[in-house]
Amino acid sequence: MEVNTVNIGLDLGYSATKAVSTRRKVKFPSVVGTSDKARFSFSQDGAGIILAEPAHVLVGEQAVTQSRFVNRREDRSWIESAEYYHLALAALTELTTATVAELRIVTGLPVAFYNDKDILRNLLLGEHRATREGRRAQVFKVTDCRVIPQPFGALLAEALDDRGNVADKALATGNVGVIDVGGKTTNLLSVSRLSEIGRETASVNVGAWDVVRAVRGWLADHCPNLDLRDHQVVDAIVARQVKYYGEPQDLGPVVDAALEPMAEQVIAQATRLWNGGANLDAVLVSGGGALLLGPAIEAYFRHAQVVSEPVFANALGYWRFAQHLSNAQQ
């Protein structure tokens, strides 16, 4: 039986897991939790991700809402943990229901941890077996895997088309800076003619969750009883207001107070690394925090722009690169 290789872009972030294939695009919180049989036995309607194999765990939104104990790590050795492996498998089961699938995976690592790329590559390459509650067992045969610096994904999403061909020649042949604002860290990458310039690449230990935490703290003090989920807090930050008992509350001052020092830190590091940034042809801003920090970065660097779909940009770029590798092999 001939098996077609499925190209996949997999972006496992500390906050959210994003994955893209030709047919699907998925995102769920990077949370793995204990299974609670008494609860999930009532809701086997396929709404959540419940892995029965290689371990009985809840993943994503299901874990956030139902698990008694959740694991959410934010450290360098995370990629070697069972939770990371379960998140990767959960993403694959979200992208395909095929019982046997041959895969080419492109994924990324933060620039500060990029030396660990072989560990991640070895983890993903080979045969993996996963079973979702209520589904037949699936076997994923990963025959090819590339691990690239995370922010490269956003650049490839802009520079390549869905077939993996260069669609934006100016970006592909130019000098480009990428500011990838993640949940915990912000990665700065400098690329010339699609080759990384190592000395102009770095990581800053600030991320979107610093702002979310600050605003959540303010809300706890000023709007008690207002129970918002993380994405609702993000929406409120972007809108700069929240409704409390039907009355709009201005979040402008607290958002500015949280964003300003963070934006200053990122811009200062980018300016230092990129010698002011004037020699760059473009600065791309991506990641879940791009909508928060983007305006400040765009105001400072006149050639900066928030990429379209900043949350999915890395995963989309990985997938487009996988498409490119697939075409090159034919």
Binding site: R146, V166, A172, T173, L194, S195
Partner: protein
């Protein structure tokens, strides 16, 4: 002739490009510029029966040519070193 004022809304994120363009217009020339863009769009998109008839007659005269799409064609307009850098990414 009476002056008609029409207001419309924009999303400061989704319509960023439009907002930038609108903000770049001189305050005294905004309405004229918007009128020109709208008129050009309407003129461009107003397809008449005559246009369709002529297109069919063109097809009848010259026939329908189908060119197969080759996804794996090399991108000759992209410098070789750039394609090489791309292929080595992550190795």
């Amino acid at each position: 002739m009476a002056k008609v004022t029409i207001s419309f809304t924009l999303d400061d994120n989704k319509d960023k490009r439009l907002l930038r363009w609108l903000e770049s217009l001189p305050k005294r020339g905004r309405s004229e510029a918007i009128r020109e863009v709208l008129t050009a769009h309407l003129d461009h998109n107003s397809i008449t029966l005559q246009d369709i008839y002529e297109a069919i007659m063109d097809l009848k005269r010259s026939g329908l040519a189908v060119t197969p799409q080759d996804d794996s064609r090399p991108q000759s307009d992209v410098p070789a070193d750039v394609l090489d850098n791309l292929s080595k990414l992550g190795l």
